[in-house]
Amino acid sequence: MPKDAMAQKRGGWIACPDCDTLHQCGPVKAPHDVKCANCGRTLFTRTENPLDRPLAFALAGLVLFIPANLYPIVTFSFHGVKTDNVLVTGVYRLAEGGFPGVGLLVLLASVLFPALYLMGMTYVLLCSRLRQYPGDFALTLRMTQGLNRWGMIDVYLLACLISFIKLGQLATVLPGPGLYCLGGVLVCTLLASLGFDPDLLWRRFGARSDKAGSWNLLKPKAS
């Protein structure tokens, strides 16, 4: 793809978000981490297949997300009585117990944010691949970058593991099919976000394309 090579070459300047050091950045061969020479922060990671690979994993994650929400995650049987839960059962029970705020937090961090992250990633990667940039492209890419930290399926799965150990002494606890699907969602999300390269997407969109010395002058606008 010669146009991609162009987009990578026009890199120009980049400032470290953690220490504000300016770097001049030439074309980068994938796979490569570019780190700030001053503070060591990873500025961006150039990966192989930066559009197709994360897109494939994000789509796979979205597909697995449906059974992960529908099938029980933990099955608990105590003296012959059986209960199980899906992702949102805990949310419902927390709200019912008088703590809708905590329930909402669990709903956001374990269901909505991971789903939005995968959807946002799919959307921006598709846009960038087709070189069609609708008006909300920049906003979606910003949202997707921000959601990376707030989707917490990995933490949720660790909590499942601990619940098995905690409840294992009281009764029989078994993993449900939802747990395996959720594990699949986690693997897909991780692999997708490893290959996801917002820097490249911004460059293809047209940001960061100024050559040194010819910065565009912004006129301040009263607010």
């Binding site: 953690d18 030439g26 209960t83 029970r93 961090a109 940001a207």
Partner: protein, 215 residues
């Protein structure tokens, strides 16, 4: 990939960096109370995050205050065949240790008790160091900030654990687990410290470096 032999800093060169898309722009002198938007992605451009020190201090102090009830109040009630038992975060860890699962106990102890406190103490140290303009170990302090920012989400472990426990152990009179008020405080601590880490601007650690002012 970078020219490290002479370090220029964006703001000192009169350039604003967009934290969202990385676009670098030169901006004419900003009058008081005005704002500019990034030409590429339309995010608000600021030289440094606005009122960063005040905002982060407010969140950190709130975090300290909420940390106390989060650890004192019970987070759940366990009712097992007649006898009911209230559990705090700490007693949950102790119970895991007593039943011999010290590895898991240690994990929960770190995620729920150590990490939130370390985050608060770490941000306090960073804030004081920035306010006093310390010139000391800038790289390490930036690294400390990155660790604080990365590790915070794992404190949600206990919140998720409770949401699983109350959903699964719901057998009426035989065995029930109900959430208690402590969880509200605990969840607030986790969220507030995550926001505090997000509000902090590590570029201020580097801002008063005398070696960097020469351009």
């Amino acid at each position: 990939m970078s020219n490290a032999n002479h370090k220029h800093r964006a703001l000192e060169a009169g350039l604003l960096t967009c934290l969202e898309c990385g676009q670098i722009s030169r901006v004419a002198k900003l009058p008081e109370g005005s704002s500019v938007r990034c030409p590429a992605c339309r995010a608000t451009l600021e030289p440094r995050k606005a009122n960063m020190i005040t905002r982060t201090w407010a969140l950190v102090l709130t975090g300290y205050i909420l940390y106390i009830p989060a650890n004192l109040f019970p987070i759940m009630t366990m009712e097992m065949v007649g006898n009911s038992e209230k559990e705090t975060i700490f007693s949950g860890v102790v119970e895991l240790f007593q039943s011999g699962m010290w590895a898991i106990g240690l994990l929960v102890f770190c995620a729920s008790i150590t990490v939130p406190l370390m985050k608060l103490v770490g941000l306090t140290v960073l804030l004081i160091s920035v306010q006093c303009g310390w010139n000391w170990r800038k790289r390490d302090r930036t690294r400390l900030y990155r660790v604080i920012e990365f590790i915070g989400r794992w404190s949600m472990l206990d919140v998720f654990l409770l949401s699983i426990l109350v959903a699964v152990v719901n057998l009426g009179g035989v065995a029930t687990i109900d959430p208690e008020i402590g969880m509200v405080f605990f969840a607030s601590v986790v969220i507030i410290t995550m926001f505090a880490a997000k509000t902090f601007d590590p570029r201020l650690i580097w801002d008063r470096a005398p070696t960097q002012t020469a351009s």
